[in-house]
């Protein structure tokens, strides 16, 4: 059995003439809650679509639950759940009807879970789908993706249209699903606070490649902001490895570094004879620093 729910090796994808993914490799361990971060247009949605075989790749190889996404076996499909950024569903059907319709495709369907989620999110099963608000439609999509209790859940910006209460409920549900049974969750989002709350691993997509992939804590340990106060003016060129950003003002400087290690602090202190304060960054700040 493969250890990874999704494994991408040297994947390249072009949309028209634009290279969206270039020689990209990514592995998502089973049982992890994996967050994908990236600026608008970085290729997050394309990456997810490639992983699911919704679009064809130009080079490389992908496996999803050990299967080829371009030609997914029916058994693999039973284990997959996906919520896209936006969806078109039959507006003339009621919520109940679309649930029955979706359920009929799967060999296993948890009615109890679906009904409890409908209650939690105040969705009336007799409402017509076409009359739901964007947020409610998004909730319905999430419920439809969870009903068959998949082993791999993929969400593309799942909470973009949800209000804070629904967002909190969604995260709670995800955490419960992961704790109750072995399930892998892979999702992209712009809301880094959500990602920080639930994800144990993250990948950062930048310039059509994976810039970082690993545990969230490792990323937090790796990227730091240093406040340097030196007795003399700090020279123009700071010779610090992994320097991302530097803002100088006479004998003070604020720098962001990647690949921080405690020895780095000692070395800079020695070099500049300065006092250095190391600041931890939250995920949003890290994201901003790495995308400068």
């Amino acid at each position: 059995m493969a250890d990874f729910a999704i494994e991408m090796k040297n994947v390249s994808k072009e949309l028209g003439r634009k290279k969206v993914l270039r020689d990209l490799s990514l592995a998502i361990p089973k049982g992890s809650v994996f967050g994908l971060l990236g600026k608008n247009g970085a290729g997050k949605t394309t990456l997810i679509k490639c992983a699911l075989g919704l679009v064809r790749i130009q080079a490389g190889g992908i496996t999803v639950l050990g299967d080829d996404p371009g030609n997914l076996h029916e058994d693999t499909k039973q284990k997959l759940g996906y919520v896209p950024q936006s969806d078109r569903i039959y507006p003339w059907l009621s919520v109940k009807q679309i649930i029955n319709y979706t359920a009929s495709f799967y060999s296993h369907w948890n009615d109890q879970l679906v009904h409890s989620l409908l209650n939690d999110w105040d969705l009336d099963s007799n409402d017509k789908v076409g009359l739901l608000s964007e947020g409610q439609a998004q909730m319905l999509m999430i419920i439809l993706a969870l009903g068959h209790e998949p082993q791999l859940l993929i969400f593309d910006e799942p909470v973009a249209s949800l209000d804070p209460a629904a967002r909190r409920q969604f995260l709670k549900t995800i955490l419960k699903i992961v704790s109750d049974r072995e399930c892998t969750v892979f999702f992209s989002t712009h809301i880094t606070s959500d990602l920080e709350r639930v994800a144990d691993r993250v990948a950062l997509l930048k310039d059509d490649k994976i810039d970082f992939c690993g545990e969230l804590d490792v990323l937090k340990d790796e990227v730091k902001r240093l406040r340097i106060v030196a007795p003399v003016d700090i020279s123009e060129e700071l010779n610090i490895s992994g320097l991302i950003f530097c803002e100088r003002s006479h004998h003070e400087a604020i720098i962001s570094v990647r690949g921080f290690k405690p020895e780095m602090k000692i070395a800079i202190e020695k070099q500049l004879k300065a006092e250095i304060e190391v600041e931890d960054l939250n995920l949003e700040e890290i994201f901003l620093e790495l995308n400068r």
Binding site: K49, R88, N100
Partner: protein, 459 residues
């Protein structure tokens, strides 16, 4: 599996448009047989027309449904999704054909519809519907609409088409073969459809917001050889084209708005111009078509309804942009007026094209004596004025909020159109002229009402 297939069948039946037209199809078939039983051959044929028309609409809706079902992520990710959806749509298709066979069974020899001709026509029409669904909102939409209605009217109006198919075995076989090949290709393509395929985004979707999304997803077209011929004119403000704000007359402002759709319009003209010699050759060669062109008065629906549908379909998607357009420095009332004017100009243009291609040009080749009659020209005038009424009435309906009112208006309009269709050609000259004048007046009243309603509308 049975539960799943039942849900997919229900998906069709729960679609109000599909159920309604299926009801018309079945009632058309039943009443046609009933009138046959009663030996009322005229009414039986008329009821068959309903059955025939509705099966084309059904096929069209089915095509839209199939694309809607398969051009999304569920088709790739839900177990057995594609096979079962295509299976159910094939089942519907077989049922339609089977129903036609049962309908035709034991027909008396005096009835002209024979099994071979019927099958050929059904299959051909289903293929046309599939083809239209396939091309979707490519810029050829207007051209295909014209072809579609031409085939439709030719098929239902000219008995000669039935005769041609019945009496020419190879033609019947050709239709059957073509239909099956196309359906097979359609099925194979749909089994493999992915987002990267060119037609994926061109879904015939509802509501129009989705359509716009899919159009945006396609993005701007790449410049190429064809775009030099068929591409858009320079945008307003570029080169010699004046900006909208610099245009003073309503005519030039109306043209400004019309430029948005002009690529299709140009294509339509070029397409027609290229096809004209073949078209005239075909008309001259196909002797059977004399029956159709000699019966010019029966072309009422073709001349008065089709141009309206082309204009309305072409402009329909523009309405959803009006809210955004009105945020620009334009006033609402003149803005609505200019759009209406642009649509009227298009209506006149398409009506003229139809008169040219379905009356004047064939008349030259066929030396049709009807062309020299005053009544004939009055009749053509009536088709134009009735096209204006249909256009005005449908525009008025577009401004209605109540669904019931819209259905009621639609029913009245359909009944009036049928009345005109059956009776207008029999009227004397004076009545035709009066009829046309009344049509123009009624159209004017509807246009005025529509203008006022749209001016008050919230975007």
């Amino acid at each position: 599996m049975i539960k799943n297939i039942k849900q997919i069948i229900l998906l069709y039946l729960r679609n109000p448009a599909f159920s309604l037209i299926l009801g018309i199809y079945l009632s058309g078939a039943v009443s046609s047989r009933y009138f046959l039983y009663k030996r009322d051959f005229f009414m039986s044929e008329e009821a068959f027309t309903f059955m025939f028309l509705s099966v084309i609409c059904l096929a069209y809706i089915m095509g839209v449904q199939i694309k809607r079902q398969l051009a999304n992520y569920r088709a790739s990710l839900l177990p057995h999704y594609r096979k079962r959806h295509l299976g159910v749509s094939s089942l519907w298709y077989v049922l339609f054909i089977l129903f036609a066979f049962l309908w035709e069974k034991s027909l008396p020899p005096s009835i002209i519809f024979t099994r071979a001709g019927l099958t050929g026509i059904y299959l051909a029409c289903l293929c046309v519907a599939m083809l239209i669904t396939w091309v979707g909102y490519l810029s050829l939409v207007r051209v295909f609409l014209v072809l579609y209605f031409a085939v439709l009217i030719l098929a239902i109006q000219s008995q000669s088409i039935f005769h041609m198919i019945d009496n020419t075995p190879w033609l019947n076989g050709f239709f059957l073969f073509l239909s099956l090949v196309m359906l097979l290709l359609f099925g194979i393509r749909m089994m493999k459809l992915k987002e990267g395929n060119f037609e994926y985004s061109y879904l015939l979707t509802w509501p129009p917001k989705d359509l716009i999304k899919s159009q945006f997803a396609v993005g701007p077209q790449k410049p190429g050889f064809l775009s030099v011929i068929f591409g858009d004119l320079p945008a307003a403000g570029e080169g010699k084209t004046k900006k909208y704000t610099e245009k003073r007359s309503m005519l030039s402002r109306a043209f400004h708005w019309d430029y948005i759709e002009l690529a299709e319009l140009k294509l339509f003209w070029i397409f027609l111009a290229l096809l004209t010699p073949f078209y005239l050759w075909f008309v001259k060669m196909a002797n059977e078509l004399h029956l159709f062109y000699n019966n010019t008065y029966a072309n009422f629906l073709l001349l008065s309804v089709t141009p309206v549908l082309i204009v309305i379909c072409g402009n329909y998607r523009r309405i959803v942009f009006w809210g955004y357009e009105l945020l620009k420095p334009v006033k609402k009332e003149p803005f609505i007026l200019q759009h209406g004017f642009a649509m009227l100009m298009n209506l006149l243009l398409y009506w003229f094209l139809f008169i040219l291609f379905f009356s004047i040009l064939p008349g030259l080749v066929l030396e049709n004596p009807f062309l020299n009659e005053l009544k004939y020209w009055l009749y053509l005038f009536l088709t134009g004025s009735y096209a204006f009424v249909v256009f005005a009435w449908i525009s008025y309906m577009s401004s209605l909020k109540s669904t019931r009112l819209m259905i009621l208006n639609g029913l009245v309009l359909c009944l009036l159109s049928l009345l005109q269709f059956y009776e207008a050609a029999n009227f004397p000259r004076f009545i035709i002229l009066t009829n046309s004048t009344v049509c123009l007046l009624i159209g004017g009243i509807f246009i005025q009402a529509t203008y006022r309603r749209w001016c008050r509308a919230e975007f």
